[in-house]
């Protein structure tokens, strides 16, 4: 298991926290919480080691569009980059409801 952390500058206040997904084979869970300040923090724990660059690419892409100030925890059991993005978008959707 590998732990990876990232920070992204953000501005917009988010009102609700959101939890989606399950740590099942090929899937992941996302915990998204509003925080104070001007940067978002992402903490990833993944069962598949050695994919730091891939995680960075996926999260770069996500934060290119998303501007909420949040703390995100990802618990991953080997999801594809596509599934990771989908889960992140799903978490955003729940938090903006």
């Amino acid at each position: 298991m590998e732990q990876i952390e990232f920070d992204y500058p953000s501005k917009r206040k988010v009102s609700r926290k959101a939890h989606v997904g399950v740590v099942g084979s090929g899937d992941l869970e996302v915990l998204l919480e509003p925080v104070e300040g001007e940067s978002s923090h992402v903490f990833v724990r993944t069962s598949v080691d050695g994919f730091r660059d891939t995680w960075k690419a996926v999260l770069d892409r996500f934060f290119a569009k998303y501007d909420g100030v949040v703390r995100i925890q990802i618990n991953d059991a080997g999801a594809t980059p596509g599934s990771v993005l989908l889960r992140l978008e799903q978490a955003v959707e729940v938090s903006e409801q």
Binding site: M1, K17, H19, V22, V23, G24, S25, D27, E29, L31, E33, R45, T46, S47, Q73, N75, D76, A77
Partner: protein, 291 residues
């Protein structure tokens, strides 16, 4: 009670099996009355998995919800079959035990509170081995204490099934609810094949597995109290009806003379066609029996 397939309504049916543990738990309560306890944001997770390189889940695969069912207090504990096969670890086990104990304490204080366990589990989580087994022993003790006051209902819908030590927890419940997609047994086919050989149990024989462990067979042999369709509404209705029935006069696991007699009557010189048992074990359930 058995509920026949009604294909005309299948389009309007909301599958229960397709729901995750959290959605399953919520679906059983009166609308708007449930709240989750020790949810994912409390982050009480397994302390043992990450030290073995396994990613933990923030709720340890166990969802506890409290609320009202038919206007009466109830707790629902749902195991998430997609996380580590729904296996019982230290934390998931402690959540289930504590929920049962708190319900028991409320009953003793005069607040009737029932419990529903949604069991999709292979039993002990082997990465937590002895703490998982100990947790199951404690869950069983807590079921025994609670079921004197209020019904404890176990539901297995599928697709994981209920196996290992947790099948004993199901066995101790006041009522067992299964779907046709559910399986219930102590030892899974792979384990039996490994321990006793392929002649004893061929784990690739799907038909044999369903004939023995399947929900339909368990119901037809009087080992389950209800057989329901994979339909969330129907399942929630059945849980309501069973809660309304209250504590059964005699629990199935206390009917020792009846079952000991049935075991004594079996011809053990050969393997049986599982259906043979239906004629002699029938659909007699604890619900109908007088104390």
């Amino acid at each position: 009670m058995s509920y026949e397939r009604d294909d005309a309504n299948s389009i309007n049916r909301q599958s229960f099996i397709e729901l995750d543990a959290r959605e399953r738990a919520k679906a059983l309560f009166d609308v708007g009355t449930s709240r989750e306890l020790l949810g994912p944001f409390d982050r009480v997770e397994s302390p043992w998995l990450s030290m073995q390189g396994v990613t933990p889940q923030a709720d340890d695969g166990c969802v506890v919800m409290k609320g009202k069912i038919s206007g009466q207090a109830a707790v629902v504990v749902a195991l998430e079959g997609a996380f580590q096969g729904g296996s019982m670890g230290e934390v998931s086990g402690a959540k289930l035990t504590a929920a049962l104990d708190l319900a028991c304490a409320d009953n003793e204080k005069g607040v009737p509170t029932s419990a529903v366990m949604l069991l999709e589990t292979g039993g002990v989580r082997l990465q937590e081995a002895n703490l998982g087994l100990a947790a199951i022993a404690e869950i069983m003790a807590s079921i025994l204490a609670l079921r004197k006051h209020a019904p404890v209902i176990s539901v297995t819908a599928g697709t994981v099934g209920c196996f290992g030590g947790m099948s004993l927890a199901a066995g101790l419940s006041s009522y067992i609810v299964l779907t046709r997609e559910a399986r219930l047994g102590l030892n899974g086919p792979e384990v039996i094949e490994q321990e006793s050989g392929v002649d004893e149990f061929d784990s690739s024989d799907r038909a044999l597995i369903w004939a023995i462990h399947g929900g339909e067979q368990r119901y037809a042999t009087g080992l389950a109290d209800a057989l329901v369709e994979d339909d969330t509404q129907q399942l929630a209705d059945v849980v309501r009806q069973l809660i309304a029935k209250g504590v059964p006069p005699v629990h199935r696991s206390s009917q020792v003379a009846l079952y000991r007699g049935r075991i004594a009557a079996l011809d053990t010189s050969r393997q049986w066609e599982p259906r043979e048992l239906r004629a002699t074990w029938g659909t007699s359930s604890s619900v109908e029996e007088k104390p």
